[in-house]
Symmetry: C2
Subunit: 298 residues, 2 copies
Amino acid sequence: MQTIGFIGLGLMGKPMAEHLLRVGYSLVLHNRNRTSVDELIALAHNSDFKPIPRAAGSPRQVAQASDVVITMLPNPAAVASVIDGDDGVLSGARAGAIVIDMSTSHPRLARELYAQGAARGVSVLDAPVSGGQVGAQQATLSIMVGGDADAFVRALPVLQVLGKNIVHVGGAGAGQIVKAANQIIVGLTIEAVAEALAFVQKAGVDGAKAREVMLGGFATSRILELHGQRMLQHNFVPGGRAETHLKDLTIALETAQVSGANLPITAQVAEMFQTLVERGFGGDDHSALWRIVADDWA
Amino acid sequence: MQTIGFIGLGLMGKPMAEHLLRVGYSLVLHNRNRTSVDELIALAHNSDFKPIPRAAGSPRQVAQASDVVITMLPNPAAVASVIDGDDGVLSGARAGAIVIDMSTSHPRLARELYAQGAARGVSVLDAPVSGGQVGAQQATLSIMVGGDADAFVRALPVLQVLGKNIVHVGGAGAGQIVKAANQIIVGLTIEAVAEALAFVQKAGVDGAKAREVMLGGFATSRILELHGQRMLQHNFVPGGRAETHLKDLTIALETAQVSGANLPITAQVAEMFQTLVERGFGGDDHSALWRIVADDWA
């Protein structure tokens, strides 16, 4: 079986690596904070999973030992450094290896890394996900993949361990473009649900009953279900952070400016997230857009 | 079995009346245009449904013959005239009768009709729906009901013939408030999907693949499924008309102004629908918000 390197064992990456461990892949792990690496190694020992994962001291060392390297990192700066830095994945990757960046990153950076990889005989895929921590834990992530078709086909068995709805959406960067589109829809739908629930409550109607009946009609969405419930319960423990969503929408707006796409409402919802961050609520769940709509800062 | 009056046999009302006919209710029908009445009577004869529906010459005559009167009308002006006009439902309704207005109307009007009914011993419910023509045909409508709890309980067996997710959301007008909230979510989610799909296409990525993968993640919604497909196919045959959605959002904005709710994005999406109407596309499906976002007037 292939050896898979996994770099970035946070809230998303750790359960993803665990799925790969359970199905028997040989894993080489690296994380900025060593704790997650040790926990996965201990889990393998305690659960008698074989083979036991190995720890590597740098992204370069991960790549030197792996056929496939997966990265799951918090932002484009981390992606650039881990994949293309001096001690990065590409500095150690074997010719013929595949690098799958599953972070939410910038389409332009994805294209640059693809080109850097190609120059070394390494296939780089951008493969961001939607579905959050629950999707990572249950292996039900949607995965939007950009890059070469043959690399996608080779990567597919690995991706199928991590997600359910896996689509090759186009060439390098296309995965990140679709992820940005995904975040446009999620952000604007959160705003839609916030305005609707604030509206019914101001009019003296029970928000929970409104949500319940709207879930059966055209207004239904995963956002109304999950984030609508969060708003009604005033539960803004993340989940997906407001500051992260601001980063994602900023990527969308920068990309739109280059291509000439018109995103009037996305621009405004990004400003709302900016206000949330400025007022100190950037660490809240993105459903905290509610605070702005309902003028509710408790 | 109760006799049910049904007034307003358009794209929504006619299939709804047909469901009541099939389960054996005695129907008294009225419509501005007589054709639909004749078609339902002919259907009963041809299919051997009993009893055969009767035609009535006015809303008043419908009410005189009915235990329950359902109205399904295109706008608040029609609702006011049919229910509260000189020859209207309330002028003929028996004490103890129930009037169920299933039109999308104004919360203020719903409260007025409730009071007019109460003065005559008639229970008036506002019970607008979501789910569109398909929901009406398949009897899967969501029904959001405002009015007295005892009238709701008495009306429920009739409503259960027409829909699936039926919730008593509050007192008189509450049904219309939740319907307005529903239309806020639907309108803003259409805008979200339009911006996202226009964004991916401008960036050179296939919109159909983007929609497919996003349907599996947090961005999924009935709107992405149905209206996203319409945008990709440039199919703006209604469905729900842009001019109707403008009317619905105008009701929401008027109601919000009275209650002090803050609807910044709803206000802007309403302006976009206004632009569509002004440019001659008011008869298009509401998914034609796409035209504004993509600057696509073909």
